[in-house]
């Protein structure tokens, strides 16, 4: 690396998807700059950010690519695959491409990105943010999240492995951690999944996880979940901008049927 200024810039917010990337960067010991995106102020929908990620979601990452030009990346799963392909030459948190473990690792990354993330996200929505309380919506997504947690719990316990792809912590584990750590926010009782809970604690002991989880702000979900009153206040604050965002999106695409 020629310049002293880190070439990696992470655009992020304190969310499960955001801390995946900061934890990955910390685990790899890579220098990076952080630019905080204020989603309550819709910074992610400003044009300069849409030029980086047309989907208007965090996290996004820019890096100086091997050709000397900037590469823009979005989608947390793809950013993680990029970071290990480019920088994890010693396979600290990944496996060599083409190996069985490599493909299994990707298997669990997609499981998180297509399953746990979206479903637990919907459980959050119907449990905390929806404009009206729909019991059915709450149950549907909490049940599906529990089912997916059950798959993880059984995988870890039946194989008696410390991490999802065996003995090594990989990006597949890192991808899951932020979501599992905030289970209570979606109304899920983590203690119902003992192997997964033990895995969560094991992950939390890693220095990279500890450092990376507090980016760009303190990772406060664990404290929040202990304090009911604070939790309701936090939900109410978020509810306002979530609903405003939904309304805004619906307006924008009106008439496009």
């Amino acid at each position: 690396m020629a310049s002293e200024e880190p070439s990696i810039v992470l655009y992020t917010t304190q969310t499960p998807n955001g801390i995946k990337i900061s934890i990955t960067l910390e685990e790899l010991g890579l220098p990076y700059k952080v630019q905080k995106i204020d989603i309550s102020k819709n910074t992610q929908k400003e044009q300069w950010f849409l030029d980086i990620n047309p989907n208007g979601r965090i996290p996004a990452l820019t890096d100086t690519f091997t050709d000397g030009k900037t590469i823009n990346l979005f989608e947390s799963g793809s950013i993680m695959q990029y970071l290990v392909a480019q920088y994890d030459k010693d396979y600290k948190i990944s496996f060599p491409p083409g190996t069985r473990e490599f493909y299994e690792m990707n298997n669990w990354i997609f499981f998180l990105n297509a399953g746990v993330g979206p479903m637990q996200g919907q459980a959050n929505h119907f449990t905390r943010y929806a404009p009206e309380h729909i019991e059915y919506g709450v149950n549907r997504y909490q049940n599906e999240t529990r089912r997916l947690y059950g798959v993880l719990d059984k995988h870890l316990s039946s194989k008696n492995i410390p991490y999802l792809v065996g003995d090594k912590c990989t990006i597949a584990d890192i991808a899951h951690w932020g979501w599992i750590a905030s289970a209570g926010w979606a109304g899920i009782e983590i203690n119902d999944f003992p192997a997964l809970k033990a895995w969560e604690d094991r992950m939390a002991e890693r220095p990279g996880v500890e450092k990376g989880r507090h980016v760009p702000d303190r990772h406060g979900i664990k404290d929040l979940l202990k304090d009911k009153e604070k939790m309701e206040k936090h939900a109410a604050e978020n509810r306002a901008w979530v609903q405003a965002g939904m309304k805004d999106d619906a307006e924008k695409h009106k008439g496009k049927k």
Binding site: P54, N55, G56, F65, T66, D67, I71, L73, F74, E75, S76, G77, S78, I79, Q81, Y82, A85, Q86, P97, G98, R100, Y103, E104, N106, N107, I109, F110, F111, N113, A114, G115, G117, P118, M119, Q122, H125, A130, P131, E132, I134, Y136, G137, R140, L148, V151, K154, H155, M246, D249, A250, K252, H253, G255, K256, K257
Partner: protein, 259 residues
């Protein structure tokens, strides 16, 4: 590269009514690779022996006798097929084209975490859920439109998502996009209204022989197993009626086990 004749057929487990199994099938068709389809029913996908193949109880999953690898999650399967068999880079870029390689993976990840789950929820609340919940329908219909708008913007002034050729990233979006009218119950002709770039791109891919072949296989497999093209089993009047019958059967079986 291995000659195609030397490749043993890849076994792919499909639940034909679902869109996701057809994503890797389309990739296999485009690459001209040998494969065999194994039908999994809605009733069998969530229980043994299939859950020994995929503990998540979902299709697709593959078993590749050439490498002795079992894999699930359609995105991971697509990345595997591409890295293992697309050595001539018909649907991908060589790994030294790092930028294009990662951008392809980025769009695939967007399909997997964005289009798939949200289009699926839209279908659930529009079609499958017995009770009409307007705020839930509005939420997922708006998200479906938003995802189409992201794609439409990305395709402005260009033919393909990454570089100047069709890749697995483009193909991954076709199966769900092709069924929008069944997901949100709109007129077929109007499903891409407001998104002309997406429409042209979709038609560019679905006019190809590989797409037609994959869809013919789908229809044939569905027909063999008593399913209509929209996924409804023959003899049922609605999805609700069908799901109720599956649920009743499941309960009866569970009761039998208990006894």
């Amino acid at each position: 590269m291995q000659s195609i004749d030397a490749i043993k057929p890849i076994k792919i487990h499909v639940l034909p009514a679902g869109p996701n199994p057809w994503k890797p099938v389309l990739i296999l068709e485009e690459l001209g690779l040998p494969y065999s389809l194994n039908f999994i029913s809605f009733e069998d996908v969530k229980k043994k022996p299939f859950t020994d193949i995929n503990p998540n109880g979902r299709a697709p999953a593959i078993e590749d006798p050439n490498t002795d690898l079992t894999l699930w999650e359609s995105g991971a399967i697509i990345q595997y097929i591409i890295s293992q068999y697309d050595t001539n880079h018909i649907l991908s870029y060589p790994s030294y084209a790092l930028k294009e390689t990662h951008l392809c993976n980025q769009w695939l990840a967007f399909q997997i975490s964005g289009q798939g789950p949200y289009f699926g929820q839209a279908a659930w609340f529009n079609v499958l859920h017995p009770e009409k919940l307007p705020s839930a329908i509005a939420r997922y219909n708006a998200e479906l439109k938003r995802i189409l708008s992201v794609l439409d913007g990305a395709l402005e002034g260009r033919q393909w998502l990454v570089g100047d050729k069709m890749t697995f990233a483009d193909l991954a979006f076709t199966v769900w996009n092709d069924r929008i009218e069944d997901l949100i119950l709109c007129e077929k002709e109007k499903k891409f209204e407001g998104f002309p770039n997406v429409q042209a791109w979709h038609e560019r891919m679905t006019s190809r022989p590989a797409w037609k072949k994959a869809m013919e296989k789908r229809e044939k497999l569905m027909d063999e197993h008593g399913l209509l093209p929209n996924g409804m089993p023959k003899g049922f009047k609605s999805h609700g009626e069908f799901h109720a019958s599956v649920e009743a059967k499941r309960k009866a079986e569970a009761a039998e086990v208990k006894e």
